[in-house]
Symmetry: C2
Amino acid sequence: METKIPYKIYLAENEIPTQWYNVRADMTNKPAPLINPATGKPLTHDDLAPIFCTELNKQELDNDTKWFDIPEEIVNFYKMYRPSPLVRAYFLEKALDTPAKIYYKFEGNNTSGSHKLNSAIAQAYYAKKQGLKGVTTETGAGQWGTALSMACSYFGLDCQVFMVKCSYEQKPFRREVMRTYGANVTPSPSNTTNIGRKILAEHPDTTGSLGCAISEAVEAAVSQEGYRYVLGSVLNQVLLHQTVIGLETKTALDKYGIKPDIIIGCAGGGSNLGGLVSPFVGEKLRGEADYQIIAVEPASCPSFTRGKFAYDFCDTGMICPLAKMYTLGSQFIPSANHAGGLRFHGMSTTLSQLYHDGLIEARAVEQTSVFAAAEQFARVEGILPAPESSHAIRVAIDEALRCKETGEEKTIVFGLTGTGYFDLVAYEQFNNKTMSDVIPTDEQIAESLAKLPKVPGLE
Amino acid sequence: METKIPYKIYLAENEIPTQWYNVRADMTNKPAPLINPATGKPLTHDDLAPIFCTELNKQELDNDTKWFDIPEEIVNFYKMYRPSPLVRAYFLEKALDTPAKIYYKFEGNNTSGSHKLNSAIAQAYYAKKQGLKGVTTETGAGQWGTALSMACSYFGLDCQVFMVKCSYEQKPFRREVMRTYGANVTPSPSNTTNIGRKILAEHPDTTGSLGCAISEAVEAAVSQEGYRYVLGSVLNQVLLHQTVIGLETKTALDKYGIKPDIIIGCAGGGSNLGGLVSPFVGEKLRGEADYQIIAVEPASCPSFTRGKFAYDFCDTGMICPLAKMYTLGSQFIPSANHAGGLRFHGMSTTLSQLYHDGLIEARAVEQTSVFAAAEQFARVEGILPAPESSHAIRVAIDEALRCKETGEEKTIVFGLTGTGYFDLVAYEQFNNKTMSDVIPTDEQIAESLAKLPKVPGLE
């Protein structure tokens, strides 16, 4: 007899994970190492030490340790907003009239509005433990910057955020949240760094780019005593911290004896997707269970589905290490019409390897269909989802409708990474029917991929 | 031995209240009846029927029924976002270094961003049950309009929101949330009503007022077949629905054997305060327990602390019934510098009577100190509070600091009614130190009170 499942499965506070799970330890084909572009050789601890926190570098490079203890201070902070609920989407199921059972893990119930806080607090903790004064970072849409501001405020660390100038001006609310948490927010490019001054001299009217903001943040970190640079996605360490999402999801499902058939997550750099699916991928890797795992990316920035598995720079500015990943080329910029987030040209090396090995699959969706799913979801489930999260909603609805056709009672779990309160300009476009889909042509992608770096020994 | 209290006390879904509690039934001195300004006589069901839903009118006028069953459809909707957590503010206690124990009931974890949804869903339900096509309302800041949009979307009701024009233009994000939920949002004054056209003809450049928006919403309701008008605060029915807040709070406290010494809520029209404190006031009225209950209002709109207990219009437009309440006069408008919400000139009749009888006390606080409390709270507790809610935070912190001085280990409970994601213009003023306090002079209040209506037999 099936136990009646509540609308929201809340775990107890003592069920918050006390260890992060490192899926790389269970992978036979490990993700390819990061490469120092200057030498063509794998990056070492020493290469990374001036830029990133020491303890985080260890996590970054460690492909063998399966479990990392979560420090008690971080678990205590997690108690502020975790465990996050696993919600049974009864209202959505009813609206779709589907036999599928749909669940979503909701990470939006904190002021950063997303899952980003899970890693921000860990990175701030290790920076504090190392005795640093502060950290620098870049932010585009602002979720990561907000999360980092909150984490730094908690540990009394200085937080310097380089915010892409057009976002700084167009998203003043995001900026003010960060300032309320005490962060120093600088529009990028700025005249506070050499690279910023150089770009401003060459392009005085530029509205900035993420690539430029990364460059400024890295320069600010290495040029100030007691500072390091931190990053909110793509890196192994970030995926590691985000496994609290997947571990809690698994605990909640196990508690009610639920075995998912399909697990769906949106994919930009991979932080949410990796965090959600790692424990399930681990079971697949160990031959303990099988799941269909779907990464959902925007059709306007389709790194998995139309990119190449190759070494590439992680940033547009080409100052970061080379990573072997599915990439559209570091110079690829999604159409200006793209409002739906997930605009990174590449993908986490770990997820890239898993995709390459057939452990996860990928699907690209167009943004108008994403916002239609977001609106449908909001109206029945009550939560206004972030555009990024809505990519996962789109495919969850598609799969549930497929179940309606076939009569299959599949169990679908997706990650609802955050809320859309700061994305209402995009919702307004959708409401006003002025939103369009722009899909890159084969020629555009080929042109961008032609610029992939040539590194000796890596061809 | 004290049970270890978790950070967040979550009740189970079957602990969501199934009845609303009507504190009027326990009051010896009942709130004075609403008066028809045309006749000077108490309003009857028949007077109210063309404007409000029938079932809601019953709740409005019933001073005797102690418990109202919550229809199952409403309880099911509540499960979307309730029970709401009762949070132990361990981080704030530590930051204040106080022996006080602080708890807050957090109502912000839903897309409306506030407790308003508790009543919106009830009002939409009764409208649907009555076979109506839709409802009309006004909204200023937008919390109520958002909540009502969500509720109407759920029941497939048309939702017409008259939004004060300056808010419509300055808060496009609020507007877009409502539109995403399918509401029809009209800037007020508009040319869709007689009163709107009249005002526009006389004052073509007006940016609108809540009084005008109420007038338009009422006209739209009575002039369309199958429509009624709904309101998000002040009314007895709204306080009744909001008692889910206080009932859940009491259940959670009882579960851990916690007896609060002080209960604090912000007070605008009284919907949150009444909902939070009703069950506790009930115990006081029945002589079962004693609590210090504090209503917190803005110093710029101090209806309890500087108003008069008298019959007055509920709206600036003077078309609504007369209510006996603490009021600054229906023509009182808080200073334009006031950014902190809670700008209603009067107060719920029930709370007014309770205050008059000494069962609750009141305190007025200045907005810069309110935002300072909000910032302090956000930085340690992680939630960005609404300005309204932050009035309660201010006094909770003040009381906790008083405990630090005296060494008393008091237990303080306050209502955290919502989040501040759509109030960042006000936060920006605070961050930029351009926010000021403007307290009305005695002369200003006296002048406004001199305009109180003269109704025969009510002097």
